[in-house]
């Protein structure tokens, strides 16, 4: 099974192959409507391989051998090269793990696949903690990419729990979206192009997920951005679409400045290495200066803000809904936008140490995440477009994940990423199904309504997704959100005491439940259907992916059951916290061994409070829309000037778009660029022209006496050459130019002579 771990590169290679094949042969041999014949099988194979890799990882974790770096190929990590067989002592004296015969080894990385040549050594005495947490052994493989300076840079794969988890998510959602699109995008003017970019996106995302070093991550990070650009602007004939595509790309470029600088700072901080393992060990074991880590984490947070739609660089994400809906589900909800979360998770020691997350009560990550969770959710209330509601919901939920990382709840963040991918994809695809039925409109207020009767499958799956998103027990969202809330350590033992984060997330949770109820009301209830034509349930190709995702939403929480539950009920230990066990790394490359790092347990009070808040949101929505029991709140903006003021702020999206587009971009594009160009033409070029004219004038004056205008001759020569033959050109050159050359050299020699006499 280890074969799957060491050959993970095949997984991104398959969709990449798909991209090339579709591009070269898609239209020519398959015709304009059959590009999925190439795309779907390849992504299906990638999905199967991802599952195999997951199983292999579970076996690998169950069967540890050697130290934490035993499966890191020597070329890929400078730490491994430096330590060689001298593994730091503290990792060697943990006892043999429970139920597993393999003893821990001291040596690292002197063997290929790790199993054969590990020198086995008996560790020290067993202690309780080591029983549960043996070190994880990420499998790192690489080949040389290029040499520059004294270093050789590599490209390869890093397979561990986090990577395996996202491999599964990406290939699963991508496969479902590929299938869904065969119906949804059917008949599109650029069907082939659509599938080509879907494949390229999947490949780039998988490449990013498996990246072994930060440089490679950066390549994947940008490539997914390009695919996002191409797919948002899929219908580029209409200007709003290409505007949205440009906005997405350029906003992300702003964040990328942070990424570039952050990666560079970490590169030098880790002793000139891009290797994720090296950077993490350096940060975790205090080998890197705290200032370096702080600067690096702040820079990288900028990148997270753009890619993962956090305030204040979130403005592109709602606009990105201009792309086809399956793209919104795959790229702008489930996978690409979590790249920022994934990157923070990958380099977690950098953030943990740099922001001093342990034992603190606020930091930049928690602040950004908390603010986004609430302010993103508020914007969802004033949207008429159902996709925009979901987009702001994504912004808000990504805020939950960022907060989780900020408060030190790493596993909770990853778990929420995992569950969110399922139910948000379900909701987006459901919105697509709604629009498919109602004449391609996404306006739920004016063009939908009463659809629950005609679209039962879409209705039920959408409802399940909503309950999960709102955080109602027992759907997936409840469990992952609850872990984040507990992880703030506000009411129980956690990494720190993040009261602010808890308050913000609870407000966010209330809003989420309320605005989602609003979408249900407008789309599925609200009297009769208001749009054009006759709505109908979508075909099976569209509804089956919904059903699969809704079913997963109902069950995937089982992978991470807490150790204890309401009323101190403890599920059997062999069923609990599997996700944490297999996904969260243990070892020198993760802050888990830090004194501050604890795992918040399930807390009945927090869970009850979160249920109460979410239930309150649902109830408020129910009373407001169904029962019309909150009459004083209806049309509030017309009754109260204060409410109108706030609504206006929301409708204008806090004026961020105005600030960015109308103020900053406009200023750069018009006055600043114009001023620079004016300076160029009038000042710099003015000097050049002035000097040139003076030189020509004085030259003409001088040479008129000696020769009949050398410079002029050359000028006239051009006119002559234009009409005469090449012979004339030759005469011009040999005649005038030789004289000029002789004069030129003589003058230069005299000047140089003067220079030598004066300076020398």
């Amino acid at each position: 099974m280890d074969w799957f771990l060491t050959h993970a590169w095949i997984i991104p290679a398959l969709p990449a192959l798909g991209f090339v094949l579709i591009l070269l042969f898609g239209k020519r041999f398959l015709g304009p409507t059959r590009a999925h014949w190439i795309g779907v099988p390849l992504i299906a194979v990638a999905f199967v391989l991802s599952i195999c890799t997951g199983v292999a990882w579970i076996q690998h974790t169950n069967d540890p051998h050697g130290g934490p770096l035993a499966d890191v190929q020597e070329e890929c990590s400078r730490t491994v090269q430096a330590t060689g067989s001298e593994e730091p002592a503290e990792h060697a004296d943990e006892g043999p793990t429970e139920g597993h015969a393999a003893a821990r080894g001291r040596s690292v990385a002197q063997e290929d696949h790790g199993t054969e040549a590990t020198t086995t050594q008996e560790g020290g005495e067993e202690h309780a903690e080591a029983e549960k947490h043996h070190d994880t052994q990420p499998v790192v493989r690489c080949v040389s990419w290029f040499d520059t300076g004294d270093h050789s840079f590599t490209i390869g794969t890093l397979v561990d729990g986090q990577a395996v988890m996202l491999l599964f998510v990406v290939t699963l959602i991508s496969l479902l979206v590929h299938l869904y699109s065969t119906d949804y995008v059917n008949g599109d003017r650029r069907y082939t192009h659509y599938y080509a970019f879907l494949s390229l996106f999947t490949s780039s995302m998988l490449f990013f997920v498996l990246a072994e070093n930060t440089l490679q991550m950066m390549v994947g990070w940008e490539l997914v951005g390009v695919c996002s650009f191409a797919l948002i602007g899929h219908w580029w004939e209409e200007k709003p679409n290409s505007d949205a595509a440009l906005k997405a790309f350029i906003t992300n470029r702003v964040g990328d400045v942070g990424l570039i600088v952050g990666v560079i700072v970490l590169f030098f901080g880790a002793g000139q290495s891009f290797s994720i393992i090296d950077i993490n060990i350096g940060a975790n074991e205090g080998l890197m200066n705290h200032t370096v880590l702080l600067v690096a984490s702040c820079c990288l947070i900028t990148a997270v803000m753009s890619k993962s739609g956090q305030f204040v660089l979130h403005t592109w994400l709602p606009d990105a809904m201009a792309g086809p809906t399956p793209v919104s589900a795959l790229i702008h909800a489930a996978t690409m936008v979590v790249a920022g979360i994934y990157m923070v998770g990958r380099l977690y020691p950098v953030f943990f140490e740099g922001l001093a997350i342990g034992g603190s009560s606020i930091n930049l990550l928690a602040l950004v995440g908390g603010v986004t969770a609430v302010f993103g959710a508020l914007l969802a209330f004033v949207q008429k477009d159902i996709k925009k509601v979901l987009a702001y919901s994504t912004v808000s939920q990504l805020g939950f994940m960022v907060t989780a990382l900020g408060v030190g709840a790493w596993t909770a963040a990853m778990f929420h990423l995992f569950t969110h991918a399922m139910f948000k994809a379900c909701l987006f695809l459901g919105a697509g199904s709604l629009s498919h039925a109602s004449h391609h409109s996404f306006n739920m207020v004016d063009d939908m309504g009463g659809l629950r009767r005609v679209m039962p499958r879409t209705y039920w799956t959408y409802l399940i997704g909503t309950l999960a998103l709102a955080g109602i027990i027992p759907f997936a969202g409840f469990w992952s959100k609850d872990e984040i809330l507990a992880g703030t350590g506000s009411a129980n033992e956690g990494v720190g005491n993040y009261h602010f984060a808890l308050v913000m997330l609870l407000i966010g949770a209330f809003c989420t439940a309320a605005y989602m109820t609003r979408t249900i009301w407008y789309a599925f209830y609200n009297g009769e259907y208001k749009g054009h034509g006759h709505p109908h349930e979508s075909g099976p190709v569209i509804t089956w992916p919904l059903i699969v995702l809704a079913a997963l939403t109902c069950v995937i929480w089982l992978v991470n059951i807490p150790t204890k539950f309401f009323f101190d009920w403890r599920p059997p230990e062999s069923f609990t916290l599997k996700f944490e066990h297999y996904v969260e790394p243990v070892g020198p490359f993760f802050p888990g061994s830090s004194d501050n790092f604890t795992h918040a347990e399930f807390n009945g009070w927090i869970a009850a409070l979160s249920l109460l808040v979410a239930g309150g949101g649902l109830l408020a929505g129910y009373l407001f829309y169904w029962k019309r029991a909150l009459k004083p709140l209806e049309n509030l903006a017309e009754k109260s000037r204060l409410a109108a003021f706030f609504k206006n702020i929301l409708v204008n999206k806090y004026y961020f778009d105005w600030l960015y587009t109308d103020v900053i971009v406009h200023a750069v594009k018009k006055p600043i660029a114009a001023a620079a160009y004016w300076f160029n033409q009038k000042v710099l070029d003015g000097v050049v022209d002035g000097a040139g004219k003076t030189a020509v004038a004085s030259g003409r004056f001088v040479y008129d006496k000696i020769d009949q205008g050398v410079i002029d001759g050359v000028v006239n020569g051009t006119a002559v050459v234009a009409t005469e033959s090449g012979g004339e050109l030759r005469r011009t050159q040999t005649g005038r130019v030789q004289q000029y050359a002789a004069l030129f050299f003589a003058a230069a020699a005299i000047l140089a002579g003067i220079f030598v006499l004066v300076i020398g």
Partner: protein, 508 residues
């Protein structure tokens, strides 16, 4: 044959085009097809020898000059005929040998007004001799001669086959470059006299340059700074470039962008830093500052343009800023990035000028606000434009990235003795420049390729998709942009040993 090429290969690639030009002089002007074939055949033959050199080159000793020729030349002034290639020159030589035949292929059915392919193609071949010669010359006088040989053909190309303002643009190009050359040759002569070296050979001069005073060194480097700086061009010596590019015929622009600008940056690396490492230290902060200004300033200039070709021309100022920033760090990372950046810019911007030329053929205008919907009328050309725009803005996975990112990286830790604060400030500003680059390139793409065609071109049958000739001329460039993007080692591994030989002297 092999022995002959080992001994004389570099002379062959340098002078073969000149021989072709001489043959063409004997053929009557009316035989246009023959002229095209002779020119193309000659340049392809030179390219074939270049490929042979690429295979015969000893990559394990890329820091050494190979295929060297060393013969007495002008004994009166101790200038020798020395040629050689190492890891730094090799990619540039091959780039030149590739670009010229592609330009000639493109010219098979794109001879600009007022025609006369004979003269036009002869000029291109003379240019090739000058360009290749500059990259292989290892003697300052020989270098200077080749450097100047380039000047006249380009002057005539712009002045005769150029756009409406060709007279102004060509004179400006000529005089401005000449002015730089004058300072350069003064520097060369002063360097030779002050060091008391045995010859003008670069190796001789480098070995004995330690003896000159720091003031003299500073001033001599200053002369080169202006000479090479105008050619690059670096801010504020760049104003000839937008005019020259805009007015030049398509292949003129391509050659100008792809190869000519690199003569300047190459001169900085080979002659400036190679011979005068200590003065280079004194100048490095100044170069870094003007390079960084160039990055931002060039990008702003692009945003202000209304003409597609002029926009691409201005983008060169920004891109060469990254190259110069890499050089200014005086480190192996930085100079490697610079050489990569030179080749990548040659491929990408050369390609963009090809596109601009072909679009002008179809629309008879490059005014951005009149264009639009290229993807509708010529989808393949539109996609190529998108691809090149992405490459030009430094997308990882395409060639442009490997010139840009490592240059920014190098600025974090410049060579010993250089101010970290200054260079790190430059690093951040340069990184901000990448945002502006995305801005002007995507904005260009949106306005020309997206949307629907404007009314005046809606039913214009002239707007056809990429022709076979164009494909032949472009495909090698597009493939190289992609391959170098994914396998940067193909070039870094060649340049690295040679660059390290230089950076070990500068303390990088």
């Amino acid at each position: 044959m092999n022995d002959f090429l080992h001994d004389w290969g570099l002379a062959v690639i340098t002078f073969l085009p000149l021989v072709g030009a001489l043959v063409m002089l004997l053929i009557p002007k009316t035989e246009e097809q023959t002229h095209k074939l002779v020119a193309l055949g000659t340049s392809l033959a030179a390219f074939a020898v270049g490929i042979w050199i690429l295979f015969e080159f000893n990559y394990d000793a890329a820091e050494r000059m190979q295929f060297t020729i060393d013969r007495s030349w002008i004994e009166l002034i101790n200038s020798r005929f020395i040629m050689g290639v190492d890891g730094i020159s090799l990619p540039l030589v091959v780039l030149t040998l590739l670009i010229v035949p592609l330009c000639l292929i493109y010219s098979l059915n794109h001879i600009p007004e007022p025609g006369n392919p004979k003269a036009f193609l002869i000029l291109i071949l003379i240019l090739e001799t000058g360009m290749v010669g500059s990259f292989v010359a290892q003697d300052l006088i020989l270098f200077f001669v080749f450097f100047e040989v380039v000047l006249l053909p380009m002057y005539f190309m712009i002045g005769v086959w150029g756009g409406e303002q060709r007279q102004y643009a060509s004179i400006k190009f000529f005089l401005y470059t000449l002015f730089g050359s004058a300072l350069m040759i003064v520097s060369f002569l002063a360097l030779y006299w002050l060091t008391g070296a045995d010859s003008f050979g670069m190796a001789d001069l480098a070995a004995s340059s330690g003896g000159i005073s720091s003031t003299a060194g500073f001033l001599i480097f200053g002369g080169m700074f202006i000479g090479f700086g105008i050619k690059v061009p670096i801010f504020p010596f760049h104003t000839w470039l937008p005019d020259a590019h805009t007015q030049a015929p398509t292949v003129g622009s391509v050659i100008l962008a792809a190869v000519l600008l690199k003569l300047g940056t190459y001169g900085f690396v080979r002659i400036g830093i190679g011979i005068l490492p200590d003065p280079a230290h004194d100048w490095a902060p100044i170069i870094a500052i003007v390079a960084t200004i160039g990055i931002i300033y060039g990008a702003l200039g692009c945003l202000a343009q209304t003409d597609m070709k002029r926009l691409i021309a201005f983008s060169s100022v920004a891109h060469m800023g990254f190259v110069m920033l890499g050089i200014a760090t005086l480190t192996d990372y930085g100079i490697n990035a610079a050489v990569f950046g030179m080749v990548a810019h040659g491929l990408i911007t050369g390609m963009l000028f090809f596109l601009a030329g072909s679009m002008k053929d179809r629309y008879h205008t490059l005014e951005i606000k009149r264009l639009g919907g290229l993807l509708v009328q010529a989808p393949r050309m539109g996609w190529i434009l998108g691809f090149c725009a992405m490459a030009s803005l430094g997308l990882p996975g395409l060639a442009g990235f490997w010139g840009e990112f490592p240059a920014i990286l190098a600025a974090y830790q410049p060579a010993e003795g250089l101010s970290e604060t200054l260079f790190r400030t430059c690093m951040v500003i340069a990184a901000l420049g990448t945002v502006l680059a995305a801005g002007y390139l995507l904005w260009l793409l949106q306005r020309t390729a997206f949307g629907t065609p404007k009314e005046e071109f809606e039913n214009n049958s002239h707007v056809s998709d990429v022709s076979p000739t164009e494909w032949t001329a472009w495909l090698p460039l597009l493939v190289l942009i992609l391959i170098l993007g994914f396998l940067p080692g193909l070039m870094f591994d060649v340049t690295n040993p040679a660059v390290q030989a230089i950076s070990s002297v500068t303390g990088g």
